[in-house]
Symmetry: C2
Subunit: 141 residues, 2 copies
């Protein structure tokens, strides 16, 4: 994922490509995990101390609003973030709260009657259980 691609992605969404915003987006794009805002801040700030906490949160908000990044709320824990690359669903570990990708497959929409006058924008599938790390641990104790 080269710098030019990220710059063009930001430009295409009407977001100026500032060093801080670039750093947040680049980090999310190369990050295999689904980091929390605090993790993103730490990581980006370590690489470039010019990026403050507020800026990290501001940029995450902007990126989510622009549709470039997805925010995943997790019960009782900090939200996780995720650059929208290939479509996928999410698996959330009940034990450690980690969020992982599950390959995308089509989900049947609800009957139009059950939506009423609501405007449907997105439709996502969330799986819950124990992740690979937590499953054996849980089994033994």
């Amino acid at each position: 994922m080269d710098a030019e691609t990220i710059k063009r992605t930001l430009d295409g969404s009407g977001l100026r490509c500032t060093p801080q915003r670039y750093a947040v987006m680049a980090f999310l794009m190369e990050c295999k995990r689904h980091p929390t805002a605090a993790e993103i801040f730490e990581s980006v700030n370590r690489m470039d101390p010019r990026c403050s906490r507020a800026t990290t949160y501001n940029n995450l908000r902007d990126l989510v609003q622009a549709g470039l990044v997805r925010e995943v709320a997790v019960e009782g824990r900090a939200a996780r973030f995720d650059a929208k690359g290939m479509r996928h669903h999410h698996f959330i570990c009940d034990r450690c709260g980690n969020v992982e990708d599950i390959g995308w497959y089509n989900v049947p929409r609800p009957a139009s009657g059950s939506l009423g006058k609501r405007v449907l924008r997105e439709c996502e599938l969330i799986f819950r259980g124990l992740c690979t790390k937590c499953a054996p641990r849980h089994a033994s104790g």
Copy 2:
């Protein structure tokens, strides 16, 4: 939903049926909305000032752990709660954060290969968009 049913439900989950716990459970069972913890506390506390904030949160945690209540995390907002009655999916309004029920229908599980060694416990569908209240407001301004 009579008192005896609630008492039996709690007993059946190994939870003592205290007045506070009963009040939280009863409120959730008769509540059509999906209230936040703060709303549950206010409502229950108004009816019976003996139920403190900590107790409300403690009991919500216990009820969720016992599988009687579902917690729904909402991006950027307080979590919502929901007595598990009939199975259903959820619609979350992007604008006001309200959570509403969508009639349940079967969701195809992921291919076992994509789950790896994960232990799958639940599988839920989340719809996002604008609720009935917010849709017209949004269209006009």
